[in-house]
Point group: C2
Chain length 334, copies 2
């Protein structure tokens, strides 16, 4: 029975990688040793962790044989190649990329929603897409209590979801400078843009992820789900306008009660006094914030929700570390 | 039969008032004379119109007896008091405020949608809310061809919809300065906020306007319509994520054909090449731009639309001037 474990963070220099280190520290994750990896380009950089300076190593020279848990957030190319290597060397990988998420052998976990699926892992556990995580945290108690019939979502997504390049493009444009590199040929500042479009049915990859991953996590493979994903000029914090339709009738009082007592949800719903979840409010928080809860009279058993969460924390780093905590529990108990 | 007419613009110094003057000039509206009015506070200012300088007069000293058409955009307090005065003095008032819109005696007009209702006016014609205008231009051909069963809308609204105070708050915050006055106690920059909430059912006034006005303009008083209105840090140009459900089946090809040949609509729908409507793209345009047209498989006969328009132009000034042009036609023909 191990009390302290050896951890690797792959993609440590990225926005999410750095946030993973911050969350591991904050939550006092019991770390015996840590290895930091990044791409060849970022290797050699140093990062502070638990009051020590660590040199980031090249993923190409990685060795996971002494690692218990590896947290990957380094893009799909790295995940495809190095996640099987790490799992093959006997550690449990928690991968933040999309490459493994829809693999039927890989559990896709949000600890408040489907922690029981962790047990079925074969060394790889996938961390869902940011916009999916906050949605399923909100939907799970509704599905359990009233049954989900249909969900319509439009997102208001922060630019940090596109990584440092996106943030730099936005800030350059706001400061009237020419961006050095860009995530969209369209201007981000004072504008709205869409994520990369997948194919000729016109959906973005982000929209397809939200549909597929939500169904997998909720174990509702045919859930009718309509999704439009939009990037807006916000630095951090994704918001989602959600219209739900349920099987069973409910009152707004009941809906608020069900959501309010659910793990990981915080209700902030006093809009008359301008108190409601906003991207700025949720920054550096780990909960999913829900407000604007209203009856939707345009359909039987309908309601509106406004769901906001920090996409780098609950949408990525915190959820990954929470999965690691669950894995650790099973190691300690196993 | 008059060829040129006498026009008054009330609220001439506001964002919409100035835009009305610009649109009147651009469209060569046949003006014999123009009178500009504003609140006591703004009276005495001068504005350029058709290469002449005009002194803005105090609305309290207004006289409409020699005016043919008066265009009001001065807030509900002024509309309530001075619109009946102007109509009583025999001119046709086109009012951009919300005070008269839901009055059953007052036609609420979008020229592409319900121009035939102008004839029933008693001297007052209402110009709809900005977010409503672009929505009904998109919905009308769908209602006519396929029948509307339900509409779910989430808006992405520009700060210019809140007037100069809103724009100043946003720009002050972006520049790191303390705003002199504000439209929300929440920060606008890098954030999302809601419009003023109406009452204890939790809807904003903007959301209720969109529901009520859309039903009135489309003459579908019971149309099931779910609306969430959100302000985002965009200066100008409202976007709307719209999910429609129709009575009759349709293909995406048919839907695009119906929308593409409709008055006032421009399709911009090549998202694979990052070509889709954006707030920046529609600036200073008069059309309603539609893209991201996709089949919504989460419901029978469903589709997605992304509807964007310049809220100060088609959403306010242009629509008012287009109504004035229709009124003029009836004067010339009458």
């Amino acid at each position: 029975m191990k009390k302290k474990i050896n951890v690797a963070v792959v993609g440590a220099t990225g926005l999410v990688g750095r946030k993973i280190l911050q969350v591991l520290e904050e939550r006092n994750f019991p770390i015996e040793s840590i290895k930091l990896y990044a791409s060849h380009k970022s290797a050699g950089n140093t990062l502070r962790f638990q009051e020590k300076t660590h040199v980031v190593k090249d993923i190409e020279a990685s060795d996971f044989s002494d690692i218990d848990i590896a947290l990957f957030s380094a893009g799909n190319f790295v995940s495809e190649k190095y996640v099987p290597k790490a799992a093959g060397q006997g550690c449990i990988v928690i991968d933040n990329g999309s490459f493994w998420r829809m693999n039927p052998e890989v559990p896709l976990i949000v600890p408040e929603v489907n922690p029981e699926m962790i047990i079925g892992n074969h060394g790889i556990i996938a961390n869902p897409n940011c916009s999916t995580i906050q949605l399923v945290v909100a939907l799970k108690p509704i599905a359990d209590n009233f049954g989900l019939k249909r969900v319509v979502v439009s997102t208001y997504q922060a630019i940090s979801g596109a990584g440092q390049v996106g943030v730099s493009q936005l800030m350059s444009e706001i400061n009237g400078e020419l961006p050095e590199s860009r995530i969209s040929s369209n201007q981000l500042a004072f504008n709205t843009v869409f994520h990369t479009i997948k194919d000729n049915i016109g959906f973005s990859i982000e929209e397809l992820k939200m549909i597929d991953e939500t169904r997998k996590i909720l174990a509702l493979p045919k859930l009718p789900l309509a999704v439009t994903c939009v990037r807006i000029p916000v630095l951090n914090g994704h918001a989602e306008s959600v219209n739900i339709e349920t099987e069973k009738p409910f009152t707004i009082f009941e809906l608020k009660e069900v959501l309010g007592k659910s793990l990981g949800i915080e209700l902030v719903d006093d809009p008359i006094n301008e108190v409601y979840p906003t991207p700025l409010m949720v920054e550096n928080k780990d909960e999913v914030f829900i407000g604007r809860i209203r009856k939707d009279e345009s359909i039987e058993n309908g309601a509106y929700l406004w769901v906001v969460s920090d996409n780098l924390r609950k949408g990525a780093a915190t959820n990954a570390v929470q999965i690691a905590e669950k894995v650790l529990e099973s190691m300690v108990n196993g």
